[in-house]
Symmetry: C2
């Protein structure tokens, strides 16, 4: 298979083939990997998706559906299929994928679809549906390869070959006792390399990392990333093995979390779908904008308070927007660096203190440099030394505050247990607006009138 | 091993043990995984790091050094060690890790350290150093498990056991011909399951994804994520196997790219180290702030132009900041959603068109709702219907423009081949500032004077 990216030609070719006969379509689709067809599905109608799914063998059809992104709504496609086809596809899906997709349906559809399945599958999926979506329980797959600690090398290999009929990809073999209590892990390589008369208990690795069903998905991702694991076992309170989370689930989680971080940072609800319609977007963003409107009224009340000053020195109106805008941008810079740093690792008190001190220094220097530029403009263009001085002080002071709040507020939020990303630029710029106006107009009132 | 997070107690315990005898320190460190000690290193001095590295066995010491983050500067620790210790550690490191660390040193140190190594290692590392850091060549490890296509099952298993003495973790076995030309991949499981008299050629999977040394690391990450691969082979133009990139490298790349995205988005140079000092931070951010100062002057020149209007209707000064601020925030929202969407997948022309149309609609609605609130305030508080009307139109118009530019500018940049994340909020808010002031003050001049 070539390593290539899908482009418009691919979409065009598929659309043309959809107009033609089934044989042409099958021939064309044979060139694509399931994950590529899943991407192509985003550009074709539900009818066309159905046609393709009905045409392909069950294993490929179910793989495509499992690879479809959340936003492409595989659940809608599934609901739209004939009951028999749907049943076959769901039974072919891994339990975790089936659960993800079925969870997106409304209750009636969920009920109908689970009715169609055989009892064991339905029980397993119902079970997985009880875990919160963003926990290890919600991410895990219940199908694992496991061997008994007291098996011989030969017995274990036979077991693994048998179990791997069902489970295509496995990276780690879990070692359990008769009650499914997790005792350790072992790799296929270790088993192969073991002496012929070795028992699994002789080669098991009993130092391993595990998570509980309730472990937050971000922590699961951190552990997989920190220990370079291909998979991590999920256990209950008695260490009974329930399933595993694999690295590819974690890669998806990381992309999702990073999208959420950027959205939250920009004052967008973290669950707005990137390709959602305008109704969703308005619902997601309007509350933040109205909150911002409230804070903007606060900033503008400072200006109202100093209206007599602005009337007398109207040139201040132009400088106001410069001071406030620069403060907002400097605060956003400090905020981005600090929030990202907190996301990647916890800071000790000492590190937190040093971070605020650093941002204070940066704010002071950047404020002084920019303040100097604006001072020179005021001095030469407006021919007013004292005005220049007032602006210099306001700029420096505002960027100093920007640094302190940009670093300090997310650090404080983190310490009191609030997600620091909530300190979006929307909130933080209120500080710099209010403080910038206060400093500029207050100083101007004292010194220039 | 427990799944736990490091906290202050751990750092304190290590610091105390550092004061005490070597035996206590060793005993304490035995409780930690190499990747945990690497994290603890971020909180202790270079001297203490050296003491620990000198105390530990070479394999653990080198694992710690390979796990240290870029920002903890493992190269400084390495340079500081005794030459013999250093040589042992570097020889124990995987070539890709050794290359990463040595690349961070200045030329003299690089030369010295490569001199100390045996010839084969030095050649391999020098070779890897020729690849750009952010390509598959720069990420890859040259140590792979490979078997010959015409080997028997038994020969292949013996080969794998032999090669796996050197390579601890492998997920895929590469099948090559006598000239190391990559023919396909096979898993250990497939080999075990094969009939006793099977040849590798009978079970090799010849449909596989690969990359070239020059492939950008983001594309490598996309492929690994899209096809759920544990590793991807790196080949030269003749399909000769050069190495592999593993999923854990890709997880690191993704974290790095996401940090860069958030920083660029906030007007911070993408290569500012999150834990860097204030000098680096000033260098990284000052240019953006000065650029912003230029655009702020542009916005303020609009205000200057309308100074006579502001003098006569001074209450406009307060509303100005509300209109401009809201426009900036709405633009940031549209920008974040659009940039993130472009990052995750390319948009077709039709999707791009629909995105702009959606953001235009969202801007119109959010603008009208917020405009109405401000209208009511102006009508009841300032007792001025016409002023309220002017503000309503300015708010709606400005949020409309915010939607169009927030979505349109990154889409255009992407199409002309410029990184859309460059359209940071700093740039985009210039539009909403200028347009907001023009609309508010222009309308006020026409209708209210």
């Amino acid at each position: 298979m070539q390593s290539f990216e899908l482009d418009k030609t691919d979409i065009l070719k598929v659309k043309q083939a959809l107009e033609g006969g089934d044989q042409d379509l099958l021939l064309l689709l044979a060139d694509y990997h399931a994950s590529e067809i899943a991407i192509l599905f985003e550009s074709i109608s539900l009818e066309s998706q159905k046609k393709i799914i009905n045409l392909l063998p069950i294993d490929l059809a179910s793989e495509i559906i499992s690879e479809m992104s959340h936003e492409a709504h595989p659940e809608e496609l599934l609901i739209d299929l004939e009951p028999e086809k749907r049943q076959e596809i769901v039974e072919e899906l891994d339990y975790d994928d089936a659960t993800d997709i079925i969870s997106q349906m409304d209750e009636q559809d969920q009920h109908d679809i689970l009715q169609e399945l055989d009892k064991e599958d339905a029980v397993n999926i119902r079970n997985l549906m009880t875990y919160a979506e963003d926990t290890a329980g919600g991410l895990m797959n219940t199908e694992v390869i496991k061997v008994d600690a007291d098996m011989s090398k030969k017995q274990a290999i036979d077991q693994i070959i048998l179990q791997s009929e069902e489970i295509e990809e496995f990276y780690t073999i879990y070692v359990v006792d008769h009650d499914d209590i997790l005792k350790g892990i072992v790799s296929l390589k270790d088993i192969i390399k073991a002496k012929a008369n070795a028992k699994i208990a002789d080669i098991v690795n009993t130092e391993f990392v595990f998570v509980k069903t309730s472990t937050d998905q971000e922590e699961v991702a951190d552990l997989i990333s920190q220990y370079n694991l291909t998979s991590i076992p999920v256990v209950d309170l008695n260490m009974k093995l329930l399933g595993r989370v694999t690295f590819d689930d974690v890669i998806d989680v990381m992309q999702e979390e990073n999208t959420e971080d950027i959205l939250k940072f920009s004052g967008v609800s973290e669950d707005e779908e990137l390709s959602g319609n305008w109704i969703e977007a308005v619902k997601s963003r309007l509350p933040w904008l109205i909150l911002n409107l409230g804070t903007a009224f606060l900033a503008s009340s400072v200006i109202r308070y100093f209206e007599p000053t602005v009337t007398k020195i109207v040139v201040l109106a132009g400088y106001m927007t410069i001071i406030a805008g620069m403060g907002g941008n400097a605060a956003t810079q400090a905020l981005a660096v600090t929030v990202r740093r907190i996301t990647l690792s916890d800071l000790t008190d000492n590190q937190a203190y040093k971070t605020v001190l650093k941002e204070l220094t940066v704010g002071l220097i950047n404020g002084a440099v920019n303040g100097l530029i604006v001072f020179l403009f005021a001095y030469f263009y407006d021919d007013n030394l004292l005005l220049g001085l007032v602006i210099f002080i306001a700029m420096t002071g505002n960027l100093l505050i920007a640094g302190i709040t940009g670093a300090g507020i997310p650090l404080i939020l983190k310490r009191v247990g609030i997600d620091p990303a909530v300190a979006s630029s929307i909130i933080i710029t209120t500080f710099t607006d209010v403080f910038g106006f206060l400093l500029l107009l207050g100083l101007a009132s004292k010194l220039l009138l």
